[in-house]
């Protein structure tokens, strides 16, 4: 997995590329999000377009990231989720807890008030 990031206003935007598995790169994602939270960031947007697949260990990393933002009153938002990833989020019902938006613009506009209806 390749991870590139940029800060825009009060949001951290992460672009992911490749596979999200339980390897060291996934830990890097969790670490990056934790340190953003510590530095005051409340909104993290994960652009998933380049993700070819996620396994269940990778899902665990996403859950850990989601929880660390939640605990600090912030939110982790997913945008541009490929079909294959959407399928796995559906089967595991994680689509009922994760905040998923079509585009970065949608994710930025939504209030920090919990998941979309």
């Amino acid at each position: 997995m390749k991870l590139t990031h940029r800060i825009e206003g009060d949001a951290l935007i992460l672009n992911l590329d490749g596979q999200l598995t339980g390897g060291p790169e996934a830990d890097q994602l969790v670490t990056k999000i934790r340190s953003a939270v510590e530095s005051g960031i409340r909104l993290v947007i994960l652009d998933m377009e380049g993700i070819t697949w996620v396994n269940s260990t990778g899902l665990g990393k996403l859950i850990a990231s989601h929880l660390s933002l939640r605990q600090s009153g912030g939110a982790l938002r997913f945008v541009r989720v490929p079909r294959r990833i959407a399928t796995i989020l559906g089967v595991t019902r994680l689509n009922t807890v994760f905040e998923i938006y079509p585009t970065e613009g949608d994710a930025r506009r939504a209030q920090l008030t919990g998941p979309p209806r």
């Binding site: 598995t21 697949w53 396994n55 269940s56 399928t87 089967v91 009922t96």
Partner: protein, 144 residues
Amino acid sequence: MNETQTITFSIPSRLELLPVLDRLVQGINAEMGFEDEEADAISISIIEAGTNAIQHGHKRDASKIVDFRFDLHDDRLEVTVHDSGPGFDIDAVTEADPTLPDGLLRCSGRGIFIMRQMMDRVDFDFSRGTSVRLLKQKRTNGRA
């Protein structure tokens, strides 16, 4: 094709090699005529089984080999994933449903659930290490 064709594949226990497995499975899905959601389901499940063999079965010891066997039948695909690890208590795993409210945000324990949701059949055999057997039926409209 009129008879079963068996393809075998083996890799050292490294998570970094799972993308290679993924490509291979894409090729097998194309050959079998599995598409879209069905092809995704098969790929995802085989990768989960491979991940478990590497992570739990072999504790990422790259000197240990994970073996895959693909039996391409006219009407179904059967895949067996084998590791030489100690096995585990499948009944204990089966009890924990990760989609119930208190399980939903646990960080692990989702792999076998995913396989069972996505494949038509998932069997475990612990007689010689751990073998997971995954089965996916072809929809009948695929062939006359």
